[in-house]
Amino acid sequence: MIVSDLLDLRAETTDGETVGWTVDARLVLDGPLDGPLARPRLVGLVVSPHTRTSFLGFERAQVPAPWLIARPLRRLHRGTFLVRWEDIARLPLPAERRDPDRRSAVVLRAGYGRHDPRL
């Protein structure tokens, strides 16, 4: 599996309701030491409700400038949330990802939690 298999996918609830698009994957360096660094673990996916583009890192980093760019991008990404790995019920199979005619979406478990996406 590669990380772009998990990005730019529609995210939906078990009822088939679209809640947004996966715009990033959250990793935490808390695995066993692997070389100089700890191994990164996939802890969840960042889901943006209004747009499928992750853009320039403005949606999470607390950078207000330049206003002309930061402001609209913030607005585009309002309501972005983090879904934990444990709350993911289903990922598209590799065959579905490769085949554009098949429905591919991340299905979130009923009662999934929306977490603060900030770093």
Partner: protein, 122 residues
């Protein structure tokens, strides 16, 4: 730009911190740009997967034009070599010693080194 100590539990976002970032070797020679990250295969409901390697090569074309490059053609840089993740990603190895440097080596040996003066400093 990050400090020498990397606390375990540091948070990285794949796109924000890793994808499309430059990888430098221990002598600051550019090695590759991160095209993708390889994860262990995992099923939802099971334990979360770990990142095993940084990937380059045909995965770039797949991200631009769509589709998916076959796993056999991914060029991998194991995570175990990664020494630091900051504005750039530093690895604890020589670019020379890596398999994925074969194109650079081939161009050097077949073309550039054969032109007079190619091995000398400017």
């Amino acid at each position: 730009m990050t400090g020498d100590t990397q606390p375990s539990g540091r948070i990285l976002d794949a796109r924000l911190h890793l994808l499309d970032h430059q990888v430098l070797d221990r002598d600051d020679v550019p090695v590759m740009v991160v095209g993708d990250l390889e994860l262990e295969d995992a099923e939802p409901g099971g334990p979360a997967p770990y990142v095993t390697s940084l990937v380059t090569g045909p995965v770039l074309g797949a991200r631009i034009f769509g589709g998916r490059a076959p796993a056999s053609r991914w060029q991998r840089l194991p995570w175990r070599l990664v020494a630091d993740v900051g504005v750039v990603i530093k690895i604890a190895a020589d670019a020379e010693s890596l398999d994925l440097a074969w194109v650079e080596r081939w161009v050097r040996d077949q073309v550039i080194a054969r032109i007079p003066g190619g091995r000398h400093g400017p």
